[in-house]
């Protein structure tokens, strides 16, 4: 800090008093925010609540905010280089220094990194921030480049996904995480139809996931139906519930629609929770049958009399991994199915109508498109895919309860779509890897998962409201051969 201050004094034209006042005010706000909630922690002692103090953390947070604000001001005033150096030093120091809690370390490093990025931009462009337009253009270029690259990244990713279970490092846990990520990719792709293509913010997508899961679990429990019979049934039931729920609400405007879908999601969860005779209530349903190998063989070590097991069918040694790998391929195929469907339907009139509706629904209606019908189609189709994913979830877990279908789950799926970029298929994959994969990789930071996740949603919205890799590619073109990047270059030249 002293380093910054002395440097600042050396240059003319910087009002140190004003700078300190601005930073001091910010620090004061930070003090007010952290003092009661962070500084005074309520703890139970016996049956009474008492307070323990943690003023060291308050002090460090306030100090960080103060220094960070000074860094921002200096960057703004054109002293970016020292800020860059200091912020990098702070980031490295925070990695090793003994801080009272992990979260402070993470915040310090993240804050220093943001500051460093800003400083780099300032050094290169002589300005601390890019305007919204410049930012959008830069990210659009990236999005377009990724879109072009998807031509070869896509197939490589698919090949990698197919080969994954046979890689040398593919232990059981790796394949399990793979299944988890693929489930969310599938849900993300499903929700992308509603949010990314049709532009409807659905906050209750988890309801259809729940309908799918409970359809399979209940049909198996009461009628003994097999997974392969239930998979299409679960999809149909979820689609039907999407139709029924969607019909009344689709007339509503964007944010009202969002809240109503949230309401429906919660209603379904509360009903599942309280209708204990039928759904098992909070205890859920356990002992959900595992899928068989297309109804031909089971994955048990010793199959029942008269039936044949998977390893006997193929004449190989029994291995519990067979079932896991089978589940992995199952979800891979389901997810790719959703992707394939979306890619194809974007080229059909229905898909084009969705995108037109997303861009401007009033213009769309005046061109003679039936708003309600095509919204309903998007909602129903997405619900069906949610249902498929739900029944897969039920068969993989073997146990479901209303706990798995809370609002947070909807928010996670929505965040995957939003972070990746609405309407971008590859963005969903990237976002699912970040949102689901990273916390699995850093188990010790699991507590902070939802915290960073909420913060990430806010930051992405502030920084780039359409999502990281959002790319609004016109599906119909006058000169269809040119690549997305060329169009981008043209539109920039035009602008």
């Amino acid at each position: 800090m002293t380093a910054i201050a002395s440097h600042a004094n050396a240059r003319p034209g910087l009002n140190v008093g004003a700078m300190l006042k601005e930073a001091g005010l910010t620090a004061l706000v930070a003090l007010a925010l952290t003092f009661p909630l962070v500084g005074l922690r309520t703890v139970d002692v016996g049956s009474r609540l008492t307070i323990t103090t943690r003023f060291d953390e308050v002090l460090i947070s306030v100090l960080l905010v103060f220094v960070g604000r000074i860094g921002l001001i200096l960057t703004r005033e054109g002293h970016a280089l020292p800020v860059l150096v200091v912020s990098l030093v702070v980031a490295v120091a925070a990695w090793f220094a003994p801080l009272p809690s992990e979260i402070l370390r993470v915040i310090t490093i993240a804050g220093a990194a943001v500051l460093a990025i800003r400083a780099v931009i300032a050094v290169r462009r002589d300005r601390s921030t890019l305007s919204q337009q410049e930012r959008d253009r830069a990210m659009d270029r990236l999005g377009a480049r990724v879109q072009d690259a998807a031509m070869w990244i896509g197939p490589i990713a698919v090949v990698f996904a197919i080969a994954l279970p046979f890689m040398p490092f593919a232990s059981r846990s790796v394949v399990d995480i793979g299944i988890l990520i693929l489930t969310y990719i599938m849900l993300g792709w499903g929700l992308n139809i509603v949010v990314g293509l049709a532009g409807l913010l659905d906050l209750g997508y988890v309801a259809f996931y729940a309908v799918g899961a409970y359809s399979y679990a209940l049909l198996a429990h009461y009628f003994g139906f097999s997974f392969w019979l239930c998979l299409p049934l679960a999809g149909l039931l979820a689609a039907f519930s999407g139709l029924v729920l969607g019909f009344p609400v689709l007339r509503l405007r964007g944010d009202y629609f969002a809240i109503v879908t949230l309401g429906f999601g919660e209603i379904i969860r509360v009903v599942l929770l309280n209708w204990a005779v039928f759904t098992g209530g909070p205890n859920g349903i356990s002992g959900i049958p595992r899928p068989s190998f297309f109804g031909i063989a089971d994955f048990d070590r010793r199959p029942p009399e008269g039936e044949i097991a998977f390893h006997q069918l193929f004449g190989i040694a029994f291995d519990p991994m067979h079932r896991i790998i089978f589940l992995y391929y199952l979800i891979l195929v389901l997810a790719l199915l959703v992707n394939f469907f979306t890619m194809r339907i974007r080229k059909l009139p229905l898909g084009r109508a969705w995108e037109a509706l997303r861009e401007d629904d009033i213009a769309c209606t005046s061109l003679g498109i039936n708003r309600t019908n095509i919204k309903l189609a998007a909602f129903t189709i997405a619900a069906m895919f949610g249902g498929f994913a739900g029944s897969f979830f039920a068969t993989r877990q073997g146990f479901i309860s209303p706990e798995s279908f809370t609002f947070i789950e909807s928010a996670i799926i929505l965040a995957i779509v939003v972070l990746g970029g609405m309407g971008s298929q590859i963005g969903v994959v990237v976002a699912a890897l970040i949102v689901i994969g990273l916390p699995e990789a850093f188990r010790e930071l699991a507590e902070y998962r939802m915290l960073t996740f909420g913060m990430g949603m806010v930051l992405i919205m502030v920084w780039r409201p359409r999502g990281l890799l959002a790319h609004r590619d016109p599906t119909i073109l006058l000169h269809p051969r040119r690549s997305a990047r060329q169009q981008q270059a043209d539109s920039e030249a035009g602008a």
Partner: protein
């Protein structure tokens, strides 16, 4: 009859609390047209600051109830307002003029963040609070011994809410701030051209909404005696329902909606089933939005192209 009167009292108390939170939703929606999804979390933070200040004041030896209550209310309102101000500044102001769903998504992110922040710094356990105000009047008594009572706390809640609402209506209709606020609600550009500081007015709207939510938080802490980091979600949805039911954007509507939701919840739990009381609220939300999106006292919204 006696049972009915008791539920009426309980419902009014609950409704007063919902009404206070609903004002925050309705004002923000009125002025910038967004659903401040994190408002329920603001209320939760108000309740936590109330618990903390109760304990601190108790430890400091200030135990005379009126003074203690006054101080807790002021502390909670001040600190919670700063939260409201900061949230607007960080998460919503940069998004003004962005596409329509961006502020809502940002608000959802903020709500998740605040919930987990409080869970992290204050612990996930339920926080119990010993009752501060005890006792009450017995209004009626049935032959079988069922007693209809009106506790001092309930009186306090209803009186305080009424006072706040009257004061608040005065603030909006008579002061310069209120005039600026209503002007921004109608047309921000024009208000700005005529010398209203639009940014400041919007910030103050958030501050006022947060202060009222903090009062609701203090009262809930005393009324129920337990809080945890998750109370904001349900209370938020219910207060939002109240705002929608009364007609979003309308202040008297928010108060009326709050009272109605409180009464419906109390009677639903008393006469039908307590498990499905949340379903009742959600169902009202869905039904009102579908059949009468302008609510009871709201003005229809015309979308200009």
């Amino acid at each position: 009859m006696e049972y009915f009167v008791q539920q009426l009292i309980n419902g009014l108390t609950l409704g007063a609390i919902y009404g206070l939170i609903a004002i925050g939703y309705t004002m923000v929606y009125g002025i910038i047209g967004m659903i401040n999804f994190a408002h329920g979390e603001i209320y939760m933070i108000g309740a936590f600051i109330a618990v903390i200040s109760f304990i601190v004041l108790g430890a400091a030896g200030i135990t005379w109830v009126p003074v203690m209550l006054m101080l807790v209310l002021i502390i909670s309102m001040v600190f919670t307002s700063i939260y409201g101000w900061t949230i607007e500044r960080l998460a919503y102001r940069p998004l003004r003029g962005s596409f329509r769903l961006a502020p809502l998504i940002s608000a959802i992110g903020m709500s998740i963040f605040l919930q987990n922040y409080v869970q992290l710094v204050q612990g996930a356990r339920v926080k119990p609070m010993p009752p501060v105000i005890q006792g009450g009047f017995v209004i009626m008594e049935r032959a079988d011994g069922f007693v209809v009572s009106l506790s001092y706390l309930q009186i306090l809640i209803i009186v305080l809410t009424t006072v706040l609402m009257v004061g608040f209506t005065g603030l909006i209709t008579r002061t310069e701030l209120g005039r600026a606020q209503r002007a921004c609600e109608q047309d921000k550009t024009m208000a700005g051209l005529l010398g209203v500081n639009v940014d400041r007015t919007i910030s103050l709207t958030f501050v006022l909404g947060a202060a009222l939510a903090a009062v609701a938080g203090v009262m809930v802490t005393m009324y129920y005696g337990v809080i945890d980091f998750f109370i904001g979600f349900l209370a938020g949805v219910k207060a939002f329902t109240a705002a929608v039911l009364g007609g979003i954007g309308s202040l008297p509507g928010a108060m009326l909606g709050g009272l109605l939701i409180g009464l419906i919840e109390a009677f639903w739990s008393a006469y039908f089933s307590i498990e499905y009381k949340d379903v009742a609220t959600f169902a009202i939300l869905v039904l009102v939005l579908i059949f009468r999106p302008t609510g009871l006292l709201g003005k229809p919204e015309i979308e200009k192209v």
